[in-house]
Amino acid sequence: MTRRHLDRALGPIALVLVALTVWLGLWVTPPDETQGNFVRLLYLHPALAWVALYLAFGLAALSSALYLWPRTRSQRWDLLAASTVEVGVVFLTLTLATGMLWGRPVWGVWWTWDARLTSTALLELLFVGYLAMRRVPADPHVRARRCAVLALLAGLDVPIVHYSVQWWNGLHQTDSVLVGGFHFAIHGSMLWTLLLSFIAMTVVFVWMVRRRYEIAVTESALADAALEDAVLERRKEGVR
């Protein structure tokens, strides 16, 4: 299978995986002993969080560092960082939304000032700031450097979000799938559905970032072409 075929197949594969997760999560898996049917939201929430926190913002921090490093500096790293942050913010918003939907019936509140929730909300705001910075008109290289610094600074919050449940004993549960190394705390169809949701959301993320990156490259090429046309136009005016 060539890269182009794989690229074309990525969307349908993502769709099938999400459909499978929904089917398993809603119809095949049993209700939880204590949470009842509300557990079904948890087939989505941790997978969304994994994509946003580790995959999207990790990739954004890595590509930003590669942009800032003079030897690897290339506009594609900047465009990749921008694409991953944009998709990451969508996933993080969904993480918070699904968490709130689950929290209302199980915890009794939509929101609580737990360390995990607070640090996640701050992370979302930091990356919203990144997206705001990207929309400020500036020289592309200046903007890329500024955004790379912002992504790295915001990325510092990711380990805080990760360890917040251990550093502060809040309401949010600690590791509840893999406990004590590679020992699974849940079993059977519940475990497989949860693992599938992680794969499904990862594939959706890859597909979305690829599409967004292509758009960003096209936008950048169009902006360069428009600039070149404007320069040529001015030169012609000068000749006349």
Binding site: L68, G129, M133, R146, V149, L156, I160
Partner: protein, 220 residues
């Protein structure tokens, strides 16, 4: 690097002494914030005392955004940043110098705000003095973050609106640790682990800023 830092710090403080923006704009804004918070909480001494630590740090945070804007605007005029680059100063030194100047200014603002806290919020002056080490660490962190984000938005047309959006979420951990530490001191304890948390934050932000500031100052 340290020599460059001293040079830049002296330059920023001299400009502040001549223009007195801090005295006539930032400090009155900080006091105004405290007064408005007191009005929002009502005249109950218990409510004011309970809210005092959080409100002190919130007022300091808002004032620090103004002080950061001012600090970044010193290099805003066309060609100033290029002139500084031509001087061949070490970027890390420039960052540390600007952060040190901002920290000195924040210290002055904090002193006035604490006076406001004594007058309007009826807190114990002796207990507030014990919080000084915690405060110094927090101000160093505020200055480091402010200087870095100030450089990120410098030269943009929307710096005034963008800076608070960028810098306030980044400063939220300082607000939390500062409030917790001050509340612990005012309740009769010590700043304890919150002073350590703030010291770690200050060192981390200063180190990251020293590393990254050069990237922001590169010519386009």
């Amino acid at each position: 690097m340290w020599r460059d830092a001293m040079l830049v710090c002296g330059k920023d403080l001299r400009i502040e002494l001549r223009t007195r923006v801090l005295l006539w704009q930032v400090v009155p804004f900080g006091i105004l914030t405290l007064v408005l918070f007191a009005l929002a909480l009502g005249p109950s001494a218990t409510a004011l005392q309970r809210g005092a630590p959080g409100l002190l740090w919130l007022a300091l945070l808002f004032a620090s955004v103004l002080a950061t804007t001012r600090s970044a605007s010193i290099e805003a005029p066309e060609g100033t940043r290029a002139s500084i680059r031509l001087l061949g100063l070490d970027a890390g030194g420039v960052f540390l110098g600007k952060a040190a100047a901002l920290a000195v200014q924040l210290l002055a603002i904090a002193a006035v705000l604490e006076l406001g806290l004594l007058v309007f919020f009826h807190v114990n002056a002796a207990r507030l003095g014990i919080a000084s080490p915690l405060e110094l660490c927090a101000l160093a962190a505020l200055a480091a973050v402010g200087t870095l984000y100030g450089a990120v938005v410098a030269g943009t047309d929307v710096a005034g609106t963008l800076l608070p959006l960028l810098v306030l979420p980044a400063l939220a951990p300082v607000l939390i640790a500062g409030e917790k530490g001050t509340a612990a001191v005012l309740a009769g304890g010590g700043p304890g682990r919150w002073a350590i948390v703030l010291a770690v934050m200050a060192v981390a932000y200063l180190a990251v800023g020293t590393l990254l500031y050069g990237a922001l100052e590169e010519p386009s």
